[in-house]
Subunit: 402 residues, 2 copies
Amino acid sequence: MSRVLIIGAGGVGRVVTHKCAQVTEVFSEIWLASRTLSKCDQIASEIDSTTIQTAQVDADNVPELVELIKRVEPQLVINVALPYQDLTIMDACLETGVHYLDTANYEPPDEAKFEYKWQWAYQQRFQAAGLTALLGSGFDPGVTNVFIAYALKHHFDRIHQVDILDCNAGDHGYPFATNFNPEINIREVTANGRFYENGQWVETRPMEISRVFDFPQIGPRKMFLLYHEEMESLTKHIPVERMRFWMTFGESYLKHLEVIQNLGLDSIQPIEIQGQQIVPLQFLKALLPDPATLGPRTKGKTNIGCIIKGEMAGQPVSRYIYNVCDHQACYRETRAQGVSYTTGVPAMIGAKMILQGKWRKPGVWNMEQYDPDPFMADLNRYGLPWQDQEFDIDIDTLPVDE
Amino acid sequence: MSRVLIIGAGGVGRVVTHKCAQVTEVFSEIWLASRTLSKCDQIASEIDSTTIQTAQVDADNVPELVELIKRVEPQLVINVALPYQDLTIMDACLETGVHYLDTANYEPPDEAKFEYKWQWAYQQRFQAAGLTALLGSGFDPGVTNVFIAYALKHHFDRIHQVDILDCNAGDHGYPFATNFNPEINIREVTANGRFYENGQWVETRPMEISRVFDFPQIGPRKMFLLYHEEMESLTKHIPVERMRFWMTFGESYLKHLEVIQNLGLDSIQPIEIQGQQIVPLQFLKALLPDPATLGPRTKGKTNIGCIIKGEMAGQPVSRYIYNVCDHQACYRETRAQGVSYTTGVPAMIGAKMILQGKWRKPGVWNMEQYDPDPFMADLNRYGLPWQDQEFDIDIDTLPVDE
């Protein structure tokens, strides 16, 4: 029986709160805090089975966080606020002696670079405090890391190659909208690609490498090689020859992004209009549909998984482990669509692992460093069932274009 | 020896002023007025051969216009301000007894519809006052009307079909920019197409009909059927079976326009941001390169002309009359690129026709209603030389796509 404090009341916070409230044998008391109290109260009002308590907090402010944690006295803080706030929340957990979990690694607000170094630097302090920090317990990073650890445990003596494939085939009916903060979306797509090969990182131009892959339950979609943050920890913890990450984007989505860049609408440098300084990216956000309104409109499925090649007892093995999620089913259950759902459910399961003591060691940990089996079992139980099958397609032979 | 008052100091006003100053035997005294006096002074400072006098005026304000015209005492007002201001300037000309010329017909600011009815309604008043109003003395409308009148005078007993082809192959090196007010640009492209056939107007969806035409001195370009204002007067004054207007647009230009619409950046409904009401279209204008900066960057050519089919002495005849203009040559001469140049030169020539008495009848007139020969001769003399050749391509058999 444990008390948990969830920080962040966006789409993911909504899903985490809904899902924790479904597992009262572990999460006997749930607090939800964010900068905007009314968002917390709205989510709490939707959940009738459990009493959710709410609070207001500025997650950039360590003393405020410490005061809230001291008042609530949780065993664990689930951080689903912004990636910029990981370090302040980790600081507050250390100061109050509380376990920590997040879904995306820290990014300095002015650097546009996701790296684990900032959070790995907390290793000694969490060890010394006897506290667990579980990093990246969303889907990717998160479930994809666990899929690979599971494959290594059950199917492989050695893994040679990993391809992580992320397909969101949801259709919200708008010509253009982003599922989350468009700034992060645009940064991800416009950055150089990068993959790991023979101990080195190989850079590609943005969107340089593509393949058309036939996603189970979705169909053929064009996917592009990107850098994605889970590869940093995975290549450190699991020896592989090559690891790549692929994400699907539709023609229309890419066209809109290209024009947004060409017009300078993604700029964070203010321009003057009507005597006011306005940041173009803020203006774009104001023009675009509110991501929170996409939930009820979004139809279709997500498919995220890993194609893993290697060997077992001297024989070549190739597996494909993936989850398919239906946007509308997610919305019916939690009033959030699939992108929030696939991140929020693993956050709840990671929290459950820590509170049940299955994944609890002093220090800062990535998902692949724990036993995957209990986590994999809970994915099937709590809404993210997975397939694990033999699969012998060579991605490099797939067509580049639809 | 005549005094002329030019109202409007944008790109076209710049060209008109430069060109009038080259013809001192007709324009012995030149005044240039606009809302922003410094723009007039800048243009005047570039021209050393003639003394240009400048003034400030709000062209929406009839009493202000009347006061200025009374002070300057011109024989003619050349209106190259905004189309919204045609009627106030006509009113002021009537009140002061001065001839009138413009390059684009009046558009009510709230209707987004170019129609001649507003200005044709001044017919009686200009007749009664013994004054000439010459409408649409730019390139299209303007020179295209004269090309057709010239063809009818010299090559045809009867015209059956007219296709007006407008190609701007200029490249300013920006991913997206508009040569003039982007609002008018966007309206033109996003409106339904319309052409004249057998006494009726036939509507098309926006950009529904396209053909790839090999423009002389430019090469193959994809052109789209649009409605364009000169067809309203031409079909009234010259009997034809069919008349169409085509304009070229590049893939990239169309892609940017489509996204601008999808994002709602072309909207004139304000949205709230940082507590301010901001009109998206105004924000777009602030993001885009200033059209005035395109001049020195723009390379390439324009080709605007008319393909005319009909009969002469019982034999079928097909002619193509067109002008090719080089953006950089225009800029060297007038510090304005081809789109301003091709509009400004015909405005000067139309003014010359009126002041020399060659095109001077009391009333409101369109270009095709006068003798084309002296105007055509001046086009060759003042920078817009034309070709007039046999031409037997059938546009309808051309490919739809590049």
